[in-house]
Amino acid sequence: MLSAISPSLRYLTALALIAAAALPFLTDNMFIINLAVLMLIAIIFSSAWNLLACSGQGSLGHAAFFGIGAYASTLVAVALGITPFITIFIGAGVAAVIGILIGLTCVRLKEWFLAMVTFGFAIIVQTLVVSVLAPMTGGWDGIPSPRLISPAIPGYQLIEYYAILAITIAIIIAIWYIMRSKAGLAFLAIRENETEARAAGINPVRYRLLAFALSAFIAGIAGALQIHHIGYITPELFGVDNSFWPITFVILGGLGTIAGPVIGTVVLTVIWEGLKETGMTFARYVIIGIILILTIIFLPKGLVSLPERVREWKEKRERKRSVIEEFSSDIE
């Protein structure tokens, strides 16, 4: 899956990098630049969710880590007056620590239980933020968050775009290295068969916790980036929608692959914005739901596996034809 990078994927990667770098030169429409920034953040967030899913743990509440990273980064940046470029990692660190704490409950649980606990955890965090922590967080109204690049600097949007692009690429490369390392192999082994992984000397609890910490850390970075990009933070961040988006992106792109979250996010965002142009509101979500279900049933490995599936299908047809030809020549 990871060791064999097909040439077509390599060209696609190069093409995507060039397109991403050249985007500001192709358009000066700030709406598109803004959309691209949000897309990059969604790619980071989906990759974080995907990393956890690689170890066989499907979280339904990743918005919790996204939001914790965002809030922690904002609060530290406001309190100490340091640049968001540093506080992003502080926020992510807080998310990772909390990720380990919730991971301690989750590592022993089966799929459904884990899904429930993570889902509930997002709701608990949201309740805490709007009740006990309200004096600090501003409750439901939220608080302003310092911008990543001050709007006073000319061309700040472009600087921000390139900064976030660089962070996204760095994170994807980091995930690639993680997945190629011993830890990544251990994640995959645990996902495939926990008993056999244990027999091979892998400690599932330790590696699952590691996956939780890494995933929460990266999700925290995504949350902090988004909030410093928008400049305002509200508890809506912890919403169910925000937990479900990365799942949808990853499933469409291809679960457990590096390219999956990227492809899924780009394709679905383009579809989503395209449908917006047609004036749909609720129907957009219905279409996303149908796409999700069709992908799960007919393309379980996601868009990444599409070329492979097409080749398989062609080979099957070829084989069928040759069998028919053989038969017909026999009859003659």
Binding site: L60, T105, K110, V117, G289, I293, I296
Partner: protein, 292 residues
């Protein structure tokens, strides 16, 4: 009001709130027992049931408690279609797929309903609105008593169905041993469809009772009750219907107690705190066996 009647009030509210959770959790358990599938989108069937009752009530003005049966019948059909088109193709391809598929269903049902009925909050006035009955030191709305009685009747009906009818016995056989059931000639795929439809019908009953009790509803209302129902069956043991009933009652009581002691904002969070605490102590649930 003195302390005793406050406690009684909380108990009664808990009992009433518990009824809706019991119906949802029992439906989920029925589906899990037979198919070993967990449908996270179960709350959407509650929502659709609520809207069907609402629509029929608007057009015909029938007594909402009569519409309950209609709503349940409609959901048997919808449930059967969902099972056939969505869950059967992915049966046995992994637990995570079921969870992800449910997310797709949640998107479709919530926003499909919003397309048909709009996303504003709605409510229905029950014909018995305002009538109260003295129960001990309390005066209880008549609707609440009817809801508790209806829930009890539905549960008794379900019990008889599972114990006495052939299909009920086939369902129990399939849930005990799927391969064994196939060997003795039970069409397990048909049993799957029936169980799923029945589970959805129970959700529809919960939705109707939700509407009748005068609570507001919108297309997004189903998610939280469903997740709580799921928490209940984790606490009560997967596949155990008595567990679902006890868990549902406890959940209703815990929630209303917490809302009273900590404030209404904690109503949703408290159930998950209870769930996480229980799972920390017993990762397979309170009464869960090796299955979990």
């Amino acid at each position: 009001m003195d302390d005793i009647s406050i406690i009684l009030q909380i108990l009664f509210w808990g009992l009433y709130a518990g009824c809706i959770y019991i119906l949802l959790a029992t439906g989920l358990n029925l589906i899990f027992g037979v198919m070993k599938v967990v449908n996270f989108a179960h709350g959407e069937f509650l929502m659709v049931g609520a809207y069907i009752t609402f629509t029929v009530f608007l057009f015909t003005g029938l007594n909402p408690y009569v519409i309950l049966l209609l709503s349940m019948l409609a959901l048997v059909g919808i449930g059967a279609i969902v099972e056939r088109l969505c869950f059967r193709p992915i049966l046995g391809t992994g637990k995570l797929n079921e969870i992800f598929l449910s997310i797709g269903l949640i998107y479709i049902f919530q926003n499909g309903a919003a397309m048909i009925w709009g996303d504003a909050w709605q409510s229905v006035k029950s014909p018995y609105d305002g009538i109260t009955v003295p129960v001990g030191p309390l005066s209880v709305p008549l609707d609440y008593i009817i809801i508790i009685v209806v829930t009890a009747l539905i549960l008794c009906g379900l019990y008889l169905f599972l114990k006495k009818t052939t299909i009920g016995m086939q369902m129990r056989a399939t849930s005990q041993n799927r391969k064994g059931a196939m060997l003795v000639g039970i069409n397990v795929e048909r049993i799957d469809v029936i169980s799923f439809g029945l589970g959805c019908a129970l959700a529809a009953a919960a939705g109707t009772l939700w509407v009748v009790s005068g609570q507001v509803f919108n297309p997004y209302m189903g998610a939280i009750p469903a997740v709580k129902a799921f928490a209940i069956i984790i606490l009560g043991g997967l596949g155990s219907i008595p567990g679902a009933i006890i868990g549902g009652l406890l959940m209703g009581l815990a929630e209303n107690g917490a809302a009273f002691l900590l404030g209404g904002i904690w109503k949703d969070a408290i159930s998950f705190i209870v769930l996480i605490v229980v799972l920390v102590i017993r990762p397979t649930g309170l009464f869960g066996g090796k299955e979990g």
